[in-house]
Subunit: 354 residues, 5 copies
């Protein structure tokens, strides 16, 4: 979620051979786990020797979900590429993160990549999820350890409906869960925004302007992440790719609905933030008006008075008024009248109204 | 119509099995009513045992409208799902409100959901209407008791045209009535906006700015609710789904026209509110100008005068003017001339013009 | 052209039977006139008994234009609906004005409705024109007496080209004339805008801001009326509906061109009004700058001077300068120097430049 | 290029017969010239008797370019219409200028109209070019004498490639040259804008605001003229109308590229002008800030000082400070301290920084 | 990257024969180099006699990349045109730079032109790359010496995968490398923008406003350059032009992804710059508010005080207060009370809060 990451995207050297992997040095060593199941059978295993997977996934009547967490070892990634016959460009897309969400149909599998997000102690944790759906396997790659997919694993263990379905249903379940997890992120941002709104309605300050500014940046970025997933899920839920059965496509349309709702929430937040900026600006100029009204009222009343008292502070020898008995009280009365007239004038201008 | 509801949407637990119902605890217990009729026959009944419905709707020559008000009991909703063979994802959409308006064609029925709105004592009451149109039934689900459909029920009772038509016409009548009820809501907001307009043209204040701000929020939200219904009705009025007969499609196009008019009204209101914001802002700066003009006029006239009287308030021993007989009147005349010149200057600047 | 009319649209009761007519109480009683002609024959007649029309329009080799002005009698409208076999929804669209411009193809005729406008003493007179084109007739409904179609009637009487053409050409002639009459309305608004522009370039005021605000409202509304006619005429000039012959379609494309030109004019006016608002706003802040420059120049010069004279107005017993012979002239010279320095400073700031 | 021309478009009387020509009274009498050529032959001729053209253009193996400059005589235009069998609506489009650029395929020829522009002494000269491409002729109509087509005529005379091509290539050459001539117009406006930019960066003034305002108007209008030509040329370069051979279509795509470049230039100018407006506005408020800083600095320093000296200008009999020997110098020192504190305060506010 | 270049585009004379080359006088003399290779063979050669190329490229089993750097000699360009049978319009597009990025399929080859950019000491170096892909050759034209393609040349020399592929793969490698080089340019601009952002958050000034203004111009221009490449690469990666094999099309889609990412980065930068402008403006008005608050606080406190002391500076003979023993202290106390009240008033207004 760090904006600067976008301008400083790590890339393989310019003009390098296609398929060049740019491994992030901070990415952890790949942990590979396999869940293999059918209706009556479930095995969970940590894979240490990638080559063994070749024989495992040859079993066509079981679902195999191979989940790779961490991209920190090029050799492992390449070996996985060989075992699953992944296209070099797909391997590149896995490691050269972040990619814009996309779907690509290769000869032996469907490739989908999209952002995976979750809240972790008030900040958004983001990583790219790359998913391959083949005839006999679902293969997922994550940038870092930890994900949002434990509910899916538990459904597999609980012997629920997913156990009697095929690989494509597992792929759906993963995609659905990832998209479902966009909501809490968006809700948290929506709440922050509402808090800011309440504060802004109270009073205005430079700090809040900066908060608002940063919030708008965050929203723009989130939108840029989530928006392309609409096309990605839209395409696989329409085109009836051979990798997703007709029955599952109905479920993908449900995922699509959720993306639409996410984008809706995002747009509401974006509009809200724009309106808040407007509110901020008009509050500022409202405030300036009020400040200037006070200055002008004070000045309008006292500047003429000061002039009058200035006149009778002059030291001319021949100023007949000065020696009049009623001079002073008359001047006081005149000033009272001036004040009264000025107050009337100000009142007619409506400056006493809030 | 509460904006916050959008950021705090109640959801089933993340990653739960598709078809998980997230029942709102405040939703009342389902009241199920049946209206069964043909040209010569009409029966209204409160259904207590859902299973009886299976045999009722097997009668193919009658219209059956089963209306479920309240979603507060999962068992009832699930049983209805079984009796009418509703898809688990559709059941989910009924209870996990609010959904974006949508239409989905399942194997045995057409599913439409869209917002139902009405005015109740100056505030908008909103709930989601979910409608299933099958061969022999129309099944509707509402979040809460009470709706806008009494005119439809009365037309059935009055033996009007609807009695000689099929299930699809009843579905049309329901959709039409729901969409017709968008108008009073929009009219009420339009009127509020016009009142605000009149007030703003009168005078400006911080309060009205906030009112305007809230109005814009409301309008943005309404648009987001109503906009997707355009596609929904557009699709069923074009695609000639097998559930709507050709004859009825003509009527659906009329509903479509009404949605277009609603969106038109909304857009007029939105433009009006934007223009009002502009008007507010330019009024504010207009006002500042006027305030500053007054301050500047007063200052321009009196500050130089005060300087002059200040000169003759100095206590120098040798100030020949002070002892001159005509000193005082000459200074008064000089000040008169200064005032005259300043007034000319101000006049030429055009600051006396409004 | 009254904006409020839009938020207070007269509607039949919510949820009423489709085909319910909502007759405006102010609408006059229908006047029905028939023009029947072919190349060698022309008859104009006021129709009092609607039922006679059935036999009249059975003559297939003549053009029949039945023009109904005023919708104030439901019975007449309904009887016309029967004689011409109009669909109840079409009847509804005739009376429940204003409709968004639309075209609908029914079994026995084509239905087009669009706005008809004309200038009448500096204000826009608006009503809805509904036109039915059947095999043997053109049937038009207007909300009120009076229209822009006299040139068409005269062409019929003058034995011009229209006399040797078919019903569809008469329909074209009517549509063309209605669309042609958008121009004077738009021109009049364009001229108003240009007058406002000239005034705004001269000087700025709150009044003109309101004028501009109202003008923008007017333009937004006009655009909303005219914009849908683009699709309406576009569709009948493309789709080669069976009611318009190929030859006439070429003429309809000419009408389409005119609508494009109207929308162009509207958009020019809209852009102009937006730019005027910008101009207004920047003029206002320009002006504020100028006002504040004057205030600041006056203050910058005189406030320090007033301070200096204030010093020598103090009544300390021991102020040696006071009794110096040259005290007074020296202070005058010092003040002159202060003024000179201040003027230099102001000049360098560029505040004397316009 | 005169904006007002658009709101005051000369039109035939409203509702007149299609094909009514609205001849501009200022349009000169038509001058008709013919260039007839093939590879080995070239004849240039001034045509006085329009009827002769009928036989001329019957020669199918030669190119005939008939160029009509000036539309000031209805009879001539009509006679040309007869000789070339032009549709009455096309004749109307020739004379009722300006039309939005368009292409129309008639039975015997293709009709294209588009704007022709050139710079003439710092101002844009605009007229409408109407072009008919038939089997054996190219017929062009211009509003006024003089055009940009001399290079095309010279290429014909010079026996260049155009001499061995067909009528469609001549039509292409004309269109290409017209579109090429959009560049100098756009360049001239671009340069004006850059000059304005340089001036605005220097200093701001009301005059430049008006210049910018007028420039934006001009650009909006130019875009409105040029934009529709994109569709026009796009259509004839795609649709392979029978009047343009495949080989020539490749050339038309080149023209299309040039229009895209023109629109690009226009959009750059438009963005530039918008940014300039922004720059103007923020410069204005920057400036106000600076002015107010000066006023506030002066006031903050001198108003408290003036108060202090005012105190000791009071004439109370019992003011012990007044008779103190050190009263005056102490007050001077106190005022020095006040100034120092105020300067510190101002410095900390950052008001001395630019 | 110089904006003015766009308004002053060098063009062949208006209306000149299609295929007229407008050679830039500053363009260097063409340097032509050939790389010829297959899996087992590689030859690099500087070509001096263009005619020799005809026989070289007749070898169908090798890849030939002919790279022309510099367009400064029309004869050479024309001779190349003959040897490779290039269409005159394509030759024109090579030399009449800059063209909008485009792809055109000619009879014997595919023509692609697009911008090539690289950073050279903090400034963007831009030139147009024109590429022809034929059956047996890849021919590239550059405006100037030097490019970003050395990595491609090295891959050829290193005997990597490219050596066993066909001409279309070499074309892909060139396009990919050019597009990859958009990133560093965009990153550099992104960083500049972030630096500006940090500065703006610190303090505001006229200089930074101009920097921001120039940055927005730069971004608008870059977008205009890069945007059309999306269509160009999109088309060749979809349409399966015969010049690109199916296998290579997959690689072109990867290039397309990179363009999407570039446009994404551009849009992020554009939004950022817009938000910065907003931030600038609201900071300015915030600042004005603060300045005016200080002025108003000072004035509100001292102007009334100055009036009071002014009263007792009047020289009336009969002012009883003046001779009271407690007159002076009482006035001081009164003024203290006034200050206290004013401070309360200011505090309640919230002007002491930041
Ligand atoms: Mg690469
Ligand atoms: Mg992870
Ligand atoms: Mg989901
Ligand atoms: Mg998309
Ligand atoms: Mg959106
Ligand atoms: Mg779910
Ligand atoms: Mg759902
Ligand atoms: Mg309800
Ligand atoms: Mg309705
Ligand atoms: Mg939609
Ligand atoms: Mg209707
Ligand atoms: Mg809209
Ligand atoms: Mg109705
Ligand atoms: Mg009428
Ligand atoms: Mg017309
Ligand atoms: Mg439309
Ligand atoms: Mg026309
Ligand atoms: Mg438009
Ligand atoms: Mg006409
Ligand atoms: Mg001419
Ligand atoms: Mg050209
Ligand atoms: Mg277009
Ligand atoms: Mg070209
Ligand atoms: Mg554009
Ligand atoms: Mg050319
Ligand atoms: Mg180069
Ligand atoms: Mg690449
Ligand atoms: Mg674009
Ligand atoms: Mg594109
Ligand atoms: Mg990739
Ligand atoms: Mg964008």
């Amino acid at each position: 979620m760090d904006r600067k990451g976008i301008f400083r995207k790590r890339k393989p050297p310019l003009g390098s051979v296609p398929g060049t992997l740019s491994i992030d040095e901070e990415s952890p060593f790949p942990k590979i786990s396999l869940i293999e199941f059918d209706r009556d059978y479930l095995k969970e295993e940590i894979i240490r020797n990638v080559e063994n997977l070749a024989s495992v996934i040859s079993a066509t009547d079981r679902v195999h979900w191979i989940d790779v967490q961490g991209l920190g070892d090029e050799a492992t990634i390449r070996k996985l590429g060989e075992v699953f016959s992944l296209h070099p460009l797909a391997l590149e897309d896995i490691t050269n993160v972040p990619q814009v969400a996309k779907v690509e149909e290769y000869d032996n599998c469907l490739f989908v990549c999209l952002p995976m997000m979750r809240m972790e102690e008030d900040s958004v944790v983001y990583e790219q999820m790359s998913l391959f759906l083949g005839e006999t396997f679902v293969l997922t790659f994550q940038e870092r350890y930890g994900d949002v997919l434990d509910p899916v694993r538990n459904r597999m263990r609980r012997n629920s409906r997913i156990r009697s379905m095929d690989n494509d249903y597992t792929a759906y379940a993963i995609l659905d869960t990832i998209v479902d997890n966009y909501f809490p992120v968006l809700q948290s941002i929506g709440s922050e925004l509402e808090k800011l709104e309440e504060e802004l309605v109270e009073s205005i300050s430079r700090e809040k302007l900066k908060d608002l500014y940063l919030m708008k940046q965050k929203l723009a970025q989130l939108r840029r992440l989530v928006w392309p997933t609409k096309d990605v899920i839209g395409r696989i839920s329409r085109e009836e790719s051979e990798y997703f059965k007709d029955q599952t496509v109905l479920y993908l349309r449900d995922v699509y609905d959720h993306i639409i709702q996410s984008l809706d929430m995002l747009d509401i937040s974006r509009e809200l933030s724009s309106e808040l900026m407007n509110l901020y600006l008009s509050s500022t100029s409202n405030r300036l008006n009020e400040i200037m009204k006070v200055l002008t009222i004070i000045s309008t009343i006292f500047i003429p008075l000061s002039f009058i008292v200035g006149i009778y502070g002059m030291n001319f020898v021949y100023m007949p008024e000065l020696s009049l008995k009623w001079g002073y009280p008359v001047v006081l009365i005149v000033m009272g009248v001036v004040v009264f007239i000025m107050l009337l004038f100000i009142r007619r201008k409506g400056w006493f109204r809030k």
